[in-house]
C-alpha cells in the first residue's frame, strides 16, 4: 500500500516538474518571437510589404528596368533608388554606386531564372525571382567596396556571377549625380 502511495506521489512530482519546464519553454519561445517582432517594428527592418510584378520578356523594351534606367537615381527627396537586374550570369549594372549616409532603395528583378543578391559585410540579402520586383530599403555607413555575389543557384555559370558595390562619400556622389541621370561605377 505504501508503495502505491509513493508511486502516486512520484507521479505527481514528475508531472509538476514537467509542467514547469513546459511553461519555461513557452516563455523562451515567446520572448524570442516577441524580440523579433519588436526589433522588426522598432528598427523598421521588415520584409517587403506588397507584391509587385515585372514581365521578364519585356523588361528591356519598356518600364523602369529598361537599360537606360538601370543604376542609381537621386529622388526629389534626396534618397537614392538603385535599379538592377540579374541574368545568367551577371548583374546589370555589374558595379553599383551608392552614397554614404543616405536612404537607398534597391529595386531589382531577374531577366531569366531565379537569382539572389547579397552584399558582403552588410545585411542586404534578397532573392530575384523572374516575374516579381524585389524592394529593399537600406543605408550604407562608410565608403568602401563590397562584393555582391549571386546567392542562388542559377545554372552552370552561377559561380562566376559576382558583382560589386562601391560606397562613396555623400558629397562626391552628389557631384557625380549632377552630371548624369543614372549612376554606376562601370562607366
Amino acid at each position: 500500500m505504501t508503495t502505491g502511495t509513493d508511486h502516486g506521489i512520484g507521479e505527481a512530482v514528475a508531472a509538476r516538474i514537467e509542467q514547469r519546464w513546459a511553461i519555461l519553454s513557452i516563455v523562451i519561445v515567446g520572448v524570442l518571437v516577441g524580440m523579433a517582432a519588436f526589433i522588426g517594428i522598432h528598427q523598421a527592418t521588415m520584409p517587403q510589404g506588397h507584391v509587385e510584378t515585372a514581365d521578364p520578356r519585356t523588361l528591356h523594351l519598356s518600364g523602369e528596368f529598361i537599360e537606360s534606367n538601370l543604376g542609381s537615381e537621386v529622388e526629389p527627396d534626396g534618397s537614392v533608388t538603385v535599379r538592377a537586374i540579374g541574368q545568367q550570369y551577371s548583374f546589370t549594372p555589374q558595379c553599383v554606386l551608392v552614397p554614404t549616409e543616405t536612404p537607398v532603395t534597391f529595386r531589382t528583378t531577374s531577366a531569366d531564372v531565379v537569382h539572389g543578391l547579397l552584399i558582403e559585410a552588410t545585411n542586404i540579402n534578397v532573392m530575384l525571382v523572374p516575374g516579381y520586383v524585389s524592394v529593399l530599403p537600406t543605408r550604407f555607413k562608410a565608403p568602401r567596396e563590397h562584393v555582391m555575389p549571386c546567392q542562388e543557384f542559377c545554372g552552370i555559370g552561377h559561380q562566376g556571377m559576382w558583382g560589386k558595390v562601391k560606397v562613396i562619400d555623400k558629397a562626391a556622389f552628389a557631384k557625380l549625380a549632377a552630371a548624369r541621370r543614372r549612376l554606376t561605377c562601370v562607366d
Partner: protein
C-alpha cells in the same frame, strides 16, 4: 515479433547503399570547391553531383529509413504481422525504381537543377517522374501505417496506442500531407513544361509550393530520430521513459505546427507579403517547443537510468551512464548537435537575423549539422539496435561502433562549424568554386579547407558504418528475443482520447496550412502575367 524481416532489411540496405554513394559525392564536392583543389574542372560536374547528393540524402535515405523503421515499429509495437505486406513491397520497388529513373538523367547531366528544382530552370522530365515515384511509393507506406493502426484499434478498443506506433503514424501523416506541396509543383507546374506541353511557369508560385514541403520534410526526417530518443534510448541504457504523455504531446505538436512555417525559407522573396512572413516566423518559433520538451524528457530518462545504476549527485550521475553502449553514445552526441543546430535554427527563424545569413554557407552548415548530424547519427543507432533482430545474428563490434559514432560527430563538427563561420562572412552557397585570390574571399580559404578534412572524416565514418552492418550479417546466429520499446515510469492505464487519436490534429494540420498558405497561393494564382519562359537545362546534348 518481427516477421517482415526481408522487407525491413531491403529498405535499410537500399537506404544505406544510396547514402554511401551520396557521401562519396559530398566529400568530393567539399574538396573541389576548396582552395586545396588547384585543378580546373567542369563546373557542371559539381552541380550534377550536388543534385545527386541532395536528391539521395533528402528524398531517398530518410524516406526509406522512415518506411523500414515504420514497418518494424508496426510489427513490434502492435505485436502482430504487418497487414498489406505485398503493398509494402510495391511501395519499396516504386521507391527503388524511382531512385534509378531520377538518377539516370542526373548522372548524364540532363537535370542539374539541384534537389530543390529551381524553376523556371527545367531539366529532363524523367528526373521529376523519378522523384514522384519515390513520393508515391512512400505514400503507400503512409496508407499502410494508418490501416495497421486502425486494425489494431478495432481489436483493442480503449487501449492506449503504443507510443512508438503513435509517433510513427504521426510522422507518416506529416509526410503524406507535406509532400503534397512539392507534388503540386511538379505535377501541375514543372512536368507540363518539362514534357514540352507548356513553355512558361510561375517561378514565384513554384517557390511557395516547394516551401510547403521544404520545411515540414525536415520534421519527417527528424521523427525516426525522436522515436529512437523516446522508445529505444531509455530501454537500451536500462532505464525508463520519464513521461509517456509529454512524448505524445511533442509528436502532436510536430504534426500541427511543422506545416505552416515553410515561408521562412522565403523571407527575402518578393512574391510573399510581410504579414504572412511574420505568421510563419511565429509558427517557426513554436516548433522549437516540442524539441525543448523532448530534450527535457530524454535527459530526465537518462538520469533515471543512471540512478538505477547507482549514479548520484546533482551532475555526478552523468558519469554513471553506460557510455560504452553505442546507443547511449549516439544519443548524447545527437543531442549535442541538436543543441547547436537548434540554436542556429532559432537565429534563422527571425527575419532580421536571417537577412545576414540567407543563402550563405551558414545555411548549408545549419542543415548538415541538424540533419546530417543530429538526425542521421540516430539512423545509425536505429540500425545498430534493430540489426540483430533483422538478421538473427549478434551485432557486437561495439568498439567499432563507438569509433564510427565519434568519427561522425567529430567529422560533422569539423565540417559544419567553419561552414557556419564563412556564412557569417557572407560566402554564398551552391557555388562550384571561388576565387580565393580575391582579397574579399581569401579570408574564407582556411575555413573551407577545414571543412574538407571534416568531409573526409565523415566519409571514413560512413564506410565504418557499412562495415559494421556487413559484419553483422556474418556473425554467429543468436536468439535476441522479441524487439521491445522503452516503458514509461508511470505506464498510463488510460489516456485522453486526444492523445490517442489523430482526427483533431489532422484537422488542425490541414486547417493551419490553409490559413497560412491559402492566401499567398490564391494571390499568386490570380495575379496576371507572373508566368515566365522556362529555361531548359542540359538540352541539346
Amino acid at each position: 515479433m518481427l516477421t517482415s524481416k526481408r522487407l525491413i532489411l531491403a529498405h535499410f540496405w537500399l537506404a544505406f547503399a544510396a547514402f554511401g554513394l551520396a557521401l562519396v559525392l559530398g566529400a568530393w564536392q567539399m574538396f573541389v570547391r576548396s582552395p586545396l583543389n588547384a585543378w580546373h574542372f567542369n563546373p557542371e560536374f559539381y552541380y550534377r553531383s550536388v543534385t545527386a547528393h541532395g536528391s539521395i540524402m533528402g528524398y531517398v535515405l530518410p524516406t526509406l529509413v522512415a518506411m523500414g523503421f515504420g514497418y518494424a515499429i508496426s510489427e513490434a509495437a502492435l505485436e502482430k504481422p504487418l497487414l498489406g505486406r505485398r503493398w509494402a513491397w510495391t511501395g519499396f520497388w516504386l521507391v527503388a525504381a524511382g531512385a534509378v529513373v531520377a538518377m539516370i538523367p542526373v548522372s548524364l547531366g540532363w537535370a542539374s537543377v539541384l534537389y530543390t528544382f529551381y524553376p523556371p530552370m527545367v531539366g529532363n522530365p524523367f528526373y521529376y517522374i523519378g522523384v514522384v515515384m519515390v513520393v508515391v511509393g512512400s505514400w503507400i507506406w503512409v496508407a499502410l501505417m494508418s490501416i495497421n493502426l486502425a486494425a489494431w484499434k478495432r481489436d483493442n478498443p480503449g487501449k492506449p496506442v503504443p507510443l512508438a506506433m503513435f509517433a510513427n503514424v504521426a510522422g507518416s501523416y506529416l509526410w503524406g500531407w507535406t509532400a503534397v506541396g512539392a507534388a503540386l509543383e511538379i505535377i501541375f507546374q514543372i512536368l507540363p513544361v518539362a514534357l514540352g506541353l507548356r513553355g512558361t511557369i510561375d517561378a514565384g508560385l513554384a517557390r511557395v509550393f516547394f516551401s510547403w514541403t521544404l520545411h515540414a520534410i525536415v520534421y519527417f526526417w527528424l521523427i525516426p530520430t525522436y522515436i529512437a530518443y523516446y522508445t529505444i534510448f531509455p530501454r537500451a541504457i536500462g532505464g525508463r521513459l520519464y513521461s509517456d504523455a509529454m512524448a505524445r504531446i511533442s509528436f502532436i505538436l510536430f504534426l500541427v505546427v511543422a506545416m505552416p512555417i515553410g515561408v521562412h525559407h522565403l523571407f527575402t522573396d518578393p512574391q510573399v507579403g510581410a504579414g504572412f512572413k511574420f505568421m510563419h516566423s511565429v509558427f517557426t518559433g513554436l516548433v522549437a517547443l516540442p524539441t525543448l520538451l523532448t530534450v527535457f524528457t530524454i535527459c530526465a530518462s537518462a538520469e533515471i537510468a543512471s540512478r538505477l545504476r547507482g549514479g548520484s549527485g546533482a551532475f555526478g550521475w552523468v558519469k554513471a551512464l553506460p557510455w560504452a553502449n553505442p546507443i547511449m553514445l549516439a544519443t548524447a552526441l545527437s543531442l549535442v548537435m541538436l543543441g547547436f543546430g537548434g540554436a542556429g535554427g532559432l537565429i534563422n527563424m527571425s527575419y532580421q537575423l536571417d537577412a545576414s545569413i540567407h543563402n550563405t554557407q551558414w545555411i548549408t552548415g545549419h542543415f548538415h549539422l541538424i540533419f546530417g548530424g543530429a538526425i542521421v547519427i540516430m539512423y545509425f543507432a536505429i540500425a545498430y539496435d534493430l540489426w540483430p533482430h533483422l538478421t538473427g545474428r549478434a551485432l557486437d563490434s561495439f568498439g567499432l561502433m563507438r569509433t564510427q559514432l565519434w568519427l561522425w560527430f567529430i567529422g560533422m563538427i569539423v565540417t559544419t562549424f567553419p561552414w557556419h563561420y564563412v556564412g557569417v562572412l557572407g560566402m554564398p552557397r551552391r557555388m562550384a568554386f571561388y576565387d580565393y585570390a580575391n582579397p574579399a574571399i581569401s579570408p574564407q580559404a582556411f575555413s573551407v579547407s577545414m571543412s574538407v578534412i571534416g568531409g573526409l572524416i565523415l566519409l571514413i565514418s560512413g564506410a565504418l558504418f557499412l562495415a559494421v552492418l556487413i559484419r553483422g550479417h556474418r556473425a554467429p546466429g543468436t536468439d535476441v528475443g522479441p524487439y521491445q520499446f522503452a516503458v514509461a515510469v508511470h505506464v498510463p492505464a488510460r489516456i485522453p482520447v486526444a492523445l490517442n487519436s489523430f482526427g483533431l490534429w489532422l484537422a488542425l494540420m490541414v486547417g493551419l496550412t490553409v490559413v497560412n498558405y491559402g492566401y499567398p497561393i490564391a494571390q499568386l494564382m490570380v495575379l496576371p502575367e507572373t508566368s515566365v519562359p522556362a529555361v531548359y537545362v542540359g538540352a541539346g546534348r
